[in-house]
């Protein structure tokens, strides 16, 4: 443990905490600026203490993969929007609603798409799906006269998308945990996906009963104007192309970066719909990108001075000298990313994986079961992945709040849904263990239970008929597809 590491840790947490509490006004110094200034102070302090600085070591803390995937996703979303794919999707949703499967089927499939076809960053799906979810939400609000429907649908979509980078087999956080912990590749994915389905249901229920703000009337008028627009010529084709490419990528897993695939799809849509570069720009949201990059810079600086090693040391000290013990501190450690929600879960999650493995080993020795370590690492990664949802500092939740023009934050109940769902992933790992072979009886039972419960919740929230076939069939289809894909 070094003095510079301790000071770096204090400055880092102070900057985050002050930004979260509003002591550093976001109107004066947004999160990005606060993190960069904190990094600068850490570096100056380190130099003053005689530490050696290697700027390259800071840069190695920056994960380019989620950043470039998000940029590619935003560009593709811009192309899809300009080509009219979202209007086409709204039309399909309308037709689906009028079928016997009805609204619950449409809702459960839509909000679980980000986890079903998991991308390295949830924002890749949030950009194209939010407009469709908004249409569905407003439609439901008109039918059911429940003005919270848009918030309910968007909350479900947002938390599902936020957590989806955990189980993603295309460079998700789960793969990092599997690699560093030497677990079978792909063994974390199903446990996390099923827990995320529960997380989504919890978020929707909590938003219905705990969130008081409703969407303003003006938003309904704006949405109506949007819906009255004529669908563009190439919208449906662009949408089919997009879905086929994503599904194909998930199934085939080509030896080609997902960013390249998304960009090629973008160019194809540009050619088909006659778009220019200006049309792509409308999909780009700079705030989450800059928030992620500044977070990575801060984490890289902290890592260079051994700040994360100090954190693990401090947690170890607390474990041995307080009544919390290793079990209590392990629980705190698993939920640490949710206590300090940053714009990207990787910022803290990846740096602390060695610490989690170490704590997991201690607790496993005490409990006499090696599975404890597996439970801890899966739970930690899930909470890290989902933590960007409720983050008020450029998290995915704020995209939804912005689109709905909500004044109060949805962060509290999104965090609560994470708290409730993470133990489900732990329970799943504890009972079924980690294995790359997921087409087993245990996983099949878990998929059926998860699908049915999610379906029941969706039925209740959307049409108030718990046993409506739409939700149940939709839930089963989604959960079984998660098992297979």
């Amino acid at each position: 443990m070094t003095l510079s590491g301790l000071i770096a840790l204090i400055i880092f947490f102070a900057a985050i905490f002050a930004s979260l509490k509003g002591w550093i006004s976001q109107k004066l110094f947004p999160m990005q600026v606060a993190l960069l200034l904190a990094s600068a102070i850490i570096i100056i302090t380190g130099l003053a203490l005689g530490e050696k600085i290697n700027p390259s070591q800071i840069i190695t803390g920056t994960f380019l993969h989620p950043i470039t995937a998000t940029i590619a996703g935003f560009i593709l979303a811009g192309a899809l929007k300009s080509a009219g794919a979202f209007e086409a999707a709204s039309g399909w949703i309308q037709k689906l609603q009028n079928s016997f499967l009805g609204v619950p089927f449409a809702v459960i499939v839509l909000i679980n798409i980000p986890t079903l076809l998991a991308m390295p960053c949830g924002r890749v799906w949030v950009s194209p799906l939010i407009p469709v979810a908004l249409t569905l939400g407003f439609e439901l609000a008109r039918k059911s006269e429940d003005k919270r429907m848009p918030v309910i649908i968007i909350s479900g979509l947002v938390i599902n998308a936020a957590a989806s980078c955990g189980p993603s087999l295309i460079g998700g956080i789960g793969l990092i945990g599997e690699g560093m912990g030497r677990y079978p590749s792909g063994s974390f994915s199903d446990h996390m996906q099923f827990a995320i389905m529960f997380m989504t249901s919890f978020a929707m229920i909590l938003s219905k009963y705990l969130y008081n703000e409703t969407v303003s009337e003006r938003m309904y008028d704006l949405q109506s104007i949007g819906e009255k627009q004529e669908p563009l010529e190439h919208g449906a084709f662009s949408l089919v192309l997009f879905i086929s490419v994503i599904v194909g990528t998930i199934i085939i897993k080509p030896a080609m970066p997902v960013q390249t695939i998304l960009i090629i799809t973008t160019f194809l849509i540009m050619i088909i719909a006659g778009l220019g570069f200006d049309d792509l720009v409308r999909g780009i949201i700079l705030h989450p990108l800059t928030a992620m990059i500044s977070g990575f810079i801060a984490a890289g600086t902290l890592s260079m001075f051994g700040g994360f090693d100090v954190l693990v040391y401090v947690l170890g000290y607390i474990s041995e000298h307080t009544p919390l013990g290793y079990v209590g501190v392990s629980i705190l450690l698993v939920y640490l990313p949710v206590f300090l929600p940053l714009p990207c879960g990787r910022i803290i999650a990846v740096s602390l994986i060695p610490g989690v493995l170490m704590f997991g080993e201690h607790v496993a020795q005490m409990a006499g079961s090696i599975r404890i370590q597996e439970v801890m690492i899966v739970c930690f990664i899930l909470s890290g992945a989902a933590s960007c949802g409720p983050s008020p500092l450029g998290g995915i939740g704020s995209i939804g709040e912005g689109r709905l023009r909500l004044k109060s934050s949805t962060g509290r109940f999104l965090s609560l849904s994470i708290f409730m769902a993470v133990p489900i992933a732990g329970f799943s790992v504890g009972v079924l263990g980690l294995s790359a072979e997921t087409l087993s009886k245990g996983f099949l039972i878990e998929a059926v239970i998860t699908g049915l419960i999610s379906g029941l919740v969706t039925n209740f929230l959307t049409v108030k008929k718990i046993f409506h076939p739409g939700g149940l069939i939709g839930g089963l289809i989604v959960s079984l597809l998660m098992l297979v894909l």
Partner: protein, 161 residues
Amino acid sequence: MKDIIKKINAALFAFIVFYLGFIGFRAFSSGYPFSLICYNCKSCDSVCVIGIDPQGFMAASIVDDPDIYVYVTNYRIYAGEAEKLDPDMIIQTHDRKLSISKALRDGTVTRDSEVITYKMKARHAANICIECAACERVCPVKLPILDVVKGLKNKESGAGK
């Protein structure tokens, strides 16, 4: 917002954009631009018996610096040799992780003791890599990791490619 605050904010946001461009430029100048594609999935890390994190080699080529520290968690080396290579090399001993120079100073290990490494510079890790290519086989985007390893071997400190 006051004018000066606006300027500070704008400058720092511009710095963030510049930072991203700088990373891309360094990756190109290292001669291994494909390192930008790395998923950072650690699939390579899980198959190396020596405990090298091959993603560290990709990181070294992104920043074009062979002196960044990468995980090497299962390589046995004599303490004297480790200190000669790099006094700041991090080793594991008695459940602690500390630099080899500190371990020798404290008397935790002697020069003839065998220690297990934890972190070392990328160019040293490249020298101990036996080029079994297990990491290349599992890479989801089939990055030519060994090209980077061979480039890093016997590299002088601080020299560009």
